[in-house]
């Protein structure tokens, strides 16, 4: 160990001892609000900073609901450690910071109450903080840097230069405001109002990166249809009081009032991310929260004078159509009746449309198709219903005419759209029973009015079975793996066969033992030529395996041939002995019978095979 290493170890030990002996200090908890004062268009960050040795164990309270502040997201936590020299000793301190983000809702003073923070065994109470909220934005003085995130890992990936930039640069945020305009502020219930939300941005070098409502936009009292808008595609310039503004259309909604009277759309805040320069590396993003004004709307009820008794609730301009797919048929044949209401108006908000019931028919499951889309002037399209009618009896039956009353806000009068009925000539056939059995009940349904009711229950034609998630089944995966595994085996075997096909001698040798086994396995004691067959099989094996000629199997040739293949001498002698015994046994028999000899031959062949 070098002298330098010894010295370093000593210093570390000394520091550790000093650290152990250092006295514990009480935890310190402070609350920091940034910025203060803050604007109603600015984000307010409240940080609870806990310092002390046990700061990591600090148990922070749930942040209380503060009147005048709206929470913008979850808490983010950061922690740092320092070693400080204190009274001649070293002490480790931990600083834990928990930050909450809020949006001030109105100008005035807001008080953040005292918070009880538990650190180890002690509870520390913070000082209440008063935040001065002003209308608008405090501008460049607000906390800059990139837009904060709720992601706890965000700080790990944050550009370290961001904090430096935010300290060293102040940026000019242009004037921004949210303006909401309504296509009409005084309408009838059921008449559309197009609500446009625009972002007005004063002169500036930067650009808008993101814009979105801070929370769900409040539209109570209205049925809302969204119109697709692209803020960048619809950007335009406007001049007001000698200043040029860039105007972005953030959203467009169609509102259909479901209540009457004076309705007020409350003010809403939008979160806008602004980057002051086109060069994103040099300009940290700024977050601004511009807020709109309230928007009062007057909704008149529909006039009672002249209102038909069968008024459908539709407001707009409409027409109705009625078609049948056949005008002749037999009792029991299905007739499809197609009813369509098309036009421009509150097609989606109107309730169930009053349709006449064709008494001469049994009405079966119906289908509704809603082909309504929102345009800048309102909802338009068609609501179509198809009913399957089954004639109950023969004769000339009538599908009733249609009549639909609606209110036309343009002319301010009630109108009526009509479609003629149809006559169906029904010839004789099996009468349809008026009361249907339980099985048919599943298919029969009351007429479903266009998109106002759910579809009727279904049957399960193939029967029900408990479902098992097969993707987690081991047998499925085993079966899937078995196929390629078997193919690999087959491929390997094929390769081997092909290799042996190119080398017949090798194939012959491999087959020699198999052939011997096959011959010996069918030898039986009661066969008269059993020993001759065993002898022949052994000679064939010696020929195929070791190339010893069949015609001249003598002890000398055996020894010579076996020596060429490097067989051990004791095995050769066993072989010679066995052949002699077989030769002699042809005349005098052998102990153990043919099966015993076959067994000895088999064992010896295996020994020879292993030894070669």
């Amino acid at each position: 160990m070098s002298l330098r290493r010894v010295a370093a170890t000593a210093v570390v030990l000394a520091l550790t001892l000093l650290g152990v002996t250092a006295r514990a200090a009480p935890a310190r908890v402070t609350v920091d609000v940034d910025p203060n004062p803050v604007g109603t268009s600015d984000r307010l960050r409240v940080s609870i900073v806990v310092e002390g040795e046990d700061a990591s164990d600090a148990n922070l309270p749930a942040f209380p609901v503060v009147d005048g502040l709206r929470s913008l997201g979850g808490a983010s936590t950061s922690e740092s450690q320092n070693v400080v020299i204190d009274g001649g000793g070293f002490r480790r301190t931990v600083t834990r910071t928990i930050s909450y983000s809020f949006l001030p809702e109105r100008a005035g003073d807001v008080t953040i109450p005292a918070l009880d923070v538990t650190v180890g065994k002690q509870t520390v109470r913070t000082q209440p903080q008063t935040v001065h909220v002003i209308a608008g934005s405090v501008g460049a003085g607000q906390s800059g840097g990139r837009a904060p995130s709720n992601d706890p890992f965000d700080s790990l990936f944050r550009d370290p230069l961001d904090s430096v930039r935010s300290r060293t640069r102040t940026v000019d945020v242009p004037e921004m405001s949210i303006r909401r305009t309504a296509s009409a502020t005084h309408v009838y219930a059921g008449e559309p109002i197009r609500l446009t939300v625009e972002l007005w941005v004063g002169p500036g070098e930067g650009h808008i990166e993101q814009a979105g409502p801070v929370s769900g936009t409040e539209r109570s009292g209205f049925w809302v249809e969204n119109l697709k808008t692209d803020p960048r595609a619809t950007a335009r310039t406007e001049e007001r009081a000698g200043r040029v503004f860039t105007v972005f259309t953030l959203s467009q909604d169609l509102l259909y009032a479901t209540q009457t009277g004076k309705l007020v759309l409350p003010a809403e805040s939008w979160r806008v991310v602004y980057r002051p320069s086109a060069f994103s590396l040099l300009s940290p993003a700024q977050e601004i929260f511009p807020k709109s004004d309230e928007l009062p709307l007057d909704i008149d009820p529909l006039p009672t004078a002249g209102r038909p008794a069968d008024f459908s609730g539709l407001v707009g301009q409409f027409e109705v159509k009625s078609d049948v797919d056949r005008e002749r048929g037999k009792v029991g044949d299905a007739v499809t009746w197609r009813i369509s209401v098309s036009g421009k108006g509150n097609l989606r908000t109107a309730g169930e449309l009053p349709l006449p019931k064709p008494d001469a028919f049994e009405v079966f499951s119906s289908k509704a198709n809603d082909d309504v889309h929102a345009s800048e002037t309102g909802l338009e399209g068609a609501r179509t219903t198809e009913q399957v009618l089954i004639p109950r009896s023969a004769g000339t039956l009538t599908v009733p005419p249609l009549a639909l009353s609606y209110f036309d806000p343009h002319d301010r009068v009630y109108k009526r759209a009509e479609a003629p009925g149809h006559r169906i000539v029904v010839e004789g056939g099996a009468p349809v029973p008026a009361v249907v059995g339980p099985a048919s009940q599943i298919a029969t349904a009351r007429p479903v009015q266009q998109g106002t009711d759910i579809r009727y229950i279904k049957s399960a034609p193939g029967g029900l079975k408990p479902e098992r998630d097969l993707s987690g089944s081991t047998s499925i995966w085993l079966l899937a793996l078995l196929a390629p595994a078997a193919n690999v085996g087959l491929w390997w075997r094929r390769q081997r066969t092909m290799a042996e096909g190119r080398d017949p001698l090798r194939l012959k040798r491999r087959q020699a033992l198999a052939q011997l086994e096959k011959t010996l396995s069918v030898v039986r004691d009661d066969e008269s030529d059993a020993l001759a067959r065993i002898s022949g099989a052994l000679v064939t094996f010696l020929h195929d395996r070791f190339g010893i000629p069949r015609v001249e199997v003598t002890a000398a040739r055996l020894r010579e041939g076996a020596a060429e293949h490097g067989l051990p001498s004791d095995r050769i002698e066993d072989l010679v002995t066995l052949l002699r015994e077989l030769d002699a046994a042809r005349f005098g028999g052998v102990s153990g019978g043919a099966a015993g000899v076959a067994k000895r031959v088999r064992e010896l062949a295996k020994l020879l095979e292993a030894a070669s």
Binding site: G74, I454, I457, G463, E467, A480, A486, L490
Partner: protein
């Protein structure tokens, strides 16, 4: 002789066992169908609570047939349990994505819940839905396995025999193409089935900043809102919305699709 008899016994036992399993399955399937019919009749008679009980019994037994989930949603809807109805229909839609009736019901319940309407699917999505709706996710998995086995069998045949070479090549190509179609659809089908989503079963459900009862409430979820499940921690579920908002809710207050 002795050996042959032993084999016959084994085969006999196997056949008997299979017959027993088949009979048990058939009896069980029959019981399930009876309960389903009971539910349907209760629904037809307007006894929706009884219908829900019957359907739920089947769901508890592991039946996930789209028709069952559809009917369960219908019965819950009639009882004005709209969020649960949406949950049942969303589950059904994963198994039958091309079912227009399901889509209509979902559209309606979303409207009644006062939620943002779902965007209309683009034409490629509609084509994909139609393809996926041809069978269930398990069905697509079985098709994938069959085409995979067919491909390997055809390939194996080409290694063990030299006859009908052209026919074998055609079979290999057809099986490979069928597998190439079935496998992505099976994957997509499974991915949709297992997509981590949930439905809020409580109205104005507070979404908290941390998985603790006293944590700050960030925003509230309306009844029946569909959320993405980011993870679970004990009795708490980390959820997020398409606009990026996220937080924690109690597991008991949402239903996993």
């Amino acid at each position: 002789m002795k050996r042959r008899s032993w084999r016959a016994h084994v085969v006999g036992c196997a056949v008997a066992l299979l017959a027993c399993v088949a009979c048990t399955s058939a009896v069980r399937a029959g019981e399930l169908d009876t309960v389903f019919e009971d539910g349907n009749h209760a629904y037809a008679d307007g006894h929706f609570a009884d219908a829900v009980a019957s359907y739920q019994r089947l769901v508890d037994q592991g039946v996930r047939d789209p028709a069952l989930l559809f009917n369960l949603g219908d019965a819950l809807y009639r009882l004005d349990r709209l969020a649960e109805a949406r949950l049942a229909w969303e589950r059904a839609l994963r198994r039958a994505p091309a079912d227009a009736d399901l889509a209509d019901n979902l559209k309606l319940v979303i409207t009644r819940l006062g939620l943002e309407p779902l965007p209309s699917p683009s034409w490629p999505e509609r084509v994909l839905d139609a393809a996926l709706g041809m069978t269930t996710p398990n069905g697509w998995l079985i098709w994938t396995l069959l085409t995979w086995l067919a491909f390997h069998t055809a390939l194996a045949a080409s290694w063990v025999t030299t006859r009908a070479r052209a026919a074998r090549a055609v079979v290999v190509v057809i099986a490979a193409v069928a597998f190439a179609v079935a496998a992505p659809l099976a994957w997509l089908s499974q991915a949709r089935l297992l997509r981590p989503e949930a439905v809020a079963l409580s109205g104005a459900l507070p979404v908290l900043a941390a998985p603790a009862a006293g944590a700050t409430s960030l925003f509230t979820l309306p009844l029946g809102e569909r959320v993405r499940v980011e993870g679970e921690q004990g009795e708490w579920m980390h959820v997020s919305l398409p606009n990026g908002w996220h937080g924690w809710v109690a597991v008991a207050s949402v239903g996993r699709i």
